[in-house]
């Protein structure tokens, strides 16, 4: 069936998943829905200890079994040690047919690939996957379907029961012996535990893993003892330097700075840039530079940010410290400055559901004026692809992209026209992960395109005469004139993953990549190396 972004979602996929094709951003608005809850075992006996000696003991006590679903959060980013630690134990215990329901998976989790190959892990649900797991899924090694859903979409899926977690493993920088968890005060601080809060609410069993046990009560708790069944103390839960990897030096790349300048020009010349405006941006070089340019103009014009939200960085927290922003709402910290900034009384933690769940009674993203995003590809329908590389390989994550893009009044995507020899502005994206109806402005190094549906923005930018305005087709044509129009990536028929829209409908599918026949000379070399 052809969905609202023109993608063919095969009937068999709709049947297997019980899902509908994507029908537009507001399809489920105001429709009644029912929430589901977990099956839990109350702890009434005050003599019972929650401490377990090992992950194995926790798995046994939580009734681990073949076919179960286990969940993880990604607050430790590339420094995460929890996923591999738990999955190794599950693998060693011989469990099969496991579903991983993670908030995101990255290069840190490359060691899971052999477990995909041997059938330990057969399904993956995540906001995306980077590194070798993505390659393994694209190569068809995962037996079941991979489901990619946004941060808000994941909370929705757990709340409606579309996804169900048997055991949630929550890495916590600090915990007491009764499972009060905090994102700070330990050896590997990640600041907040926002993505894992829904797991505490909806998983049948919940195991806290920490490397820093503190005296009871570890208050104020970010995840409460009332959600946690067991606490397991291990040597190390994360590598601090890789958790705060967003703390990069400001970019000196002129191309990124140029796009940052265009992006700032768009923000300050559209109607929502006034005292009390709200704003979210990412961790890329252009995004951070754009925030810095914006700060200068805010100071000049004495305009204050009402609230900033999102994965936070030093640049955003600086605005709070300088009194240029009233409040920061925090779901993730990309650098240590953001973690330390939580001391500021106006820097608030919020759960992922409050941030972005589309099916609650209104998420924070709905109150956003601006969001600045990136994308691997943008097509002439303004559809974005942030998950599948132009080579067809799964290589990225939706994260909060579809959530914030839909919520914000002005969603800006920064995307260089060319990614090496690949045109990033193209006729059709490889895979649609955020629908074009959510995207308002595309900023490239060759000019800025406004979605024709947003004549108000186009008008404002025309009047301001602040950026080189192009149509999205002009940008695409420029890209093709420089590097040519690439042939379409070839895929096998088999579908290896689905891309969920925020509301759980299917916006696109991901097919198995076609193996490129390598010239014999390379194969020979490979064999020699293997034998030698």
């Amino acid at each position: 069936m052809i969905n609202a972004v023109g993608r063919d979602i095969p009937d068999e996929i709709l049947e297997i998943t019980g899902k509908e094709p994507f029908q537009g951003n507001f399809y489920l608005d105001d429709k009644p829905m029912t929430k589901v809850g977990p099956t839990i075992r109350p702890i009434m006996n005050n003599k019972k200890s929650k401490l377990v000696a090992s992950i194995r003991e926790a798995l046994i006590k939580c009734e681990a079994h073949d076919g179960m679903t286990v969940s993880f959060h990604h607050h430790f980013r590339d420094g995460d040690l929890i996923v591999n630690m738990v999955m190794k134990e599950i693998h060693d215990m011989g469990f099969k047919d496991i579903t991983i329901c993670a908030t995101s998976l990255g290069k840190a989790h490359d060691p899971l690939v052999p477990m995909i190959e041997d059938g330990t892990i057969t399904r993956i649900e995540s906001s995306g996957v980077r590194g070798r797991i993505g390659e393994a899924i694209s190569q068809g090694k995962l037996q079941g379907l991979a489901i990619m859903r946004s941060h808000g979409g994941r909370v929705r899926a757990l709340t409606t029961g579309e996804a169900h977690v048997d055991i949630a493993f929550i890495g916590a920088p600090t915990s007491d012996d009764y499972g009060n968890l905090r994102g700070i005060g330990g050896k590997a601080d990640c600041g907040v535990l926002s993505y894992a809060i829904v797991d505490g609410n909806h998983a049948d069993h919940c195991v806290a893993i920490t490397d820093c046990l503190v005296p009871y009560p570890n208050f104020p708790a970010h995840i409460s003892q009332t959600k946690v069944d067991y606490v397991c103390v291990v040597d190390e839960i994360g590598v601090p330097s890789k958790i705060a990897s967003g703390a990069a030096k400001p970019t000196t790349d002129q191309r990124k700075l140029l796009m940052a300048q265009y992006c700032t020009d768009v923000v300050v010349n559209t109607p929502w840039f006034k005292d009390g405006f709200s704003y979210q941006t990412g961790v890329g070089g252009a995004s951070i530079a754009s925030t810095q340019y914006l700060a200068e103009i805010m100071r000049d014009r004495n305009i204050h940010m009402g609230f900033g939200v999102g994965g936070l960085t030093k640049a955003m927290c600086q605005l709070l410290d300088d009194g240029m922003a009233r409040v920061m709402l925090d779901v993730q910290d990309f650098d240590l400055d953001a973690v330390h900034n939580l001391k500021n009384v106006n820097h608030h933690r919020i759960p992922a559901g409050v941030y972005a769940n589309p099916l609650n009674k209104g998420a924070v993203v709905n109150k956003l004026d601006y969001v600045v995003l990136a994308s691997l590809e943008v097509d002439v329908h303004f559809n974005c692809n942030v998950v599948v590389g132009s080579d067809g390989m799964i290589t990225g994550a939706q994260g909060g992209h579809p959530d914030t893009a839909q919520g914000a009044k002005c969603a800006i995507v920064i995307c260089p026209l060319l990614q090496g020899r690949i045109p990033a502005i193209c006729t059709d994206v490889t895979t649609v992960t955020t629908p074009g109806e959510s995207i308002d402005v595309v900023v490239t190094d060759y000019g800025v395109a406004v979605n024709p549906a947003r004549q108000d923005i186009l008008q404002a930018l025309r009047e301001a005469d602040c950026v080189p305005l192009r149509t999205i087709e002009e940008l695409r044509d420029t890209a093709y004139s420089i590097v040519g129009e690439p042939d379409k990536v070839e895929f096998e028929d088999r579908i290896v993953g689905i891309i969920e829209a925020r509301d759980g409908t299917i916006i696109d599918v991901v097919r198995q990549i076609k193996e490129i026949k390598q010239p014999a000379v390379y194969k020979k070399k490979g064999r020699r190396r293997a034998n030698g």
């Binding site: 002129q254 140029l258 060759y446 004139s481 420089i482």
Partner: protein, 300 residues
Amino acid sequence: MTNPNKYRLRRTMMFLNCQKPGLIKDPYIYKPDSIMLDLEDAVAEREKDAARYSLYHALQEIDYRGVERVVRINGLDTDLWREDVRCAVAGGCDSIRIPKTETADDVRTVEYAIAEAEREFRRPEGSVLLMAALESARGVINAMSICDSSERLFGIALSGGDYSKDLQISISGTGVEFMGARQHMIIAARAAKVQCFDTVWTNLNDMAGFRKEVEIIHSMGFDGKSIVNPRQIPVVHEIYTPKEKDIIFAEKVIKEIDQKKAMGIGVFTVDGKMIDIAFYDGAKRTIALAKASGVYKGDL
């Protein structure tokens, strides 16, 4: 007939190494007035032919969107420059920059090679312009004769690195060591009615120093500055962009002079200042600069 591009706006001329295709593929996105595609110092000795290959194809294939394409050839003391000229002219460059120019004969030697290449590659005679970089005490002293050497020559440029070596001094950052050369060159250029360009500023971490230097050379009368990084472009363009009050005044001067001329009046006042025909060219230049900088939307 004078090449119509001879007196075009050249506030910024950005150096780009022809050895690096990534650099020369789309420098126009940063909006310099001119780019200087370098075959000389930036290119490693054994990569000279590869750089020429990239240059030729870039000139042939890439639409530089109105940015002037100047090619810096290798010095006349090498056996490379003649082929550089052929390659640049065949590719379709707008201008050629002669490094280490010391005498008017140097310019005429290159001019002859350009004319030959124009015939060989069937380009209109005189379509390729010339500029001369003065990089030695002798070159600077000979500025006047160099400026007068060729109808193709649109300007001269100071090359501070080599010049300071020849002068046996080091670059201080204050500009004191270039005072004489700058003043001498700008006077010679104006006398010959050609343009004059200042040397590069290489310390990218000292943008305040850069700004100060651009302000100085702007007030000295230089037409523009050589640039080594896109981030320097907006600073130069900002300083060279006429201020609103200057534009309004220039507009009034031009309109009044046109009007009063018809009435047979030679001297009059605008905003309390005495004005005569001597102000006309300056006011025209201000409006032209304002237009090129995108800040003038009037009808002049």
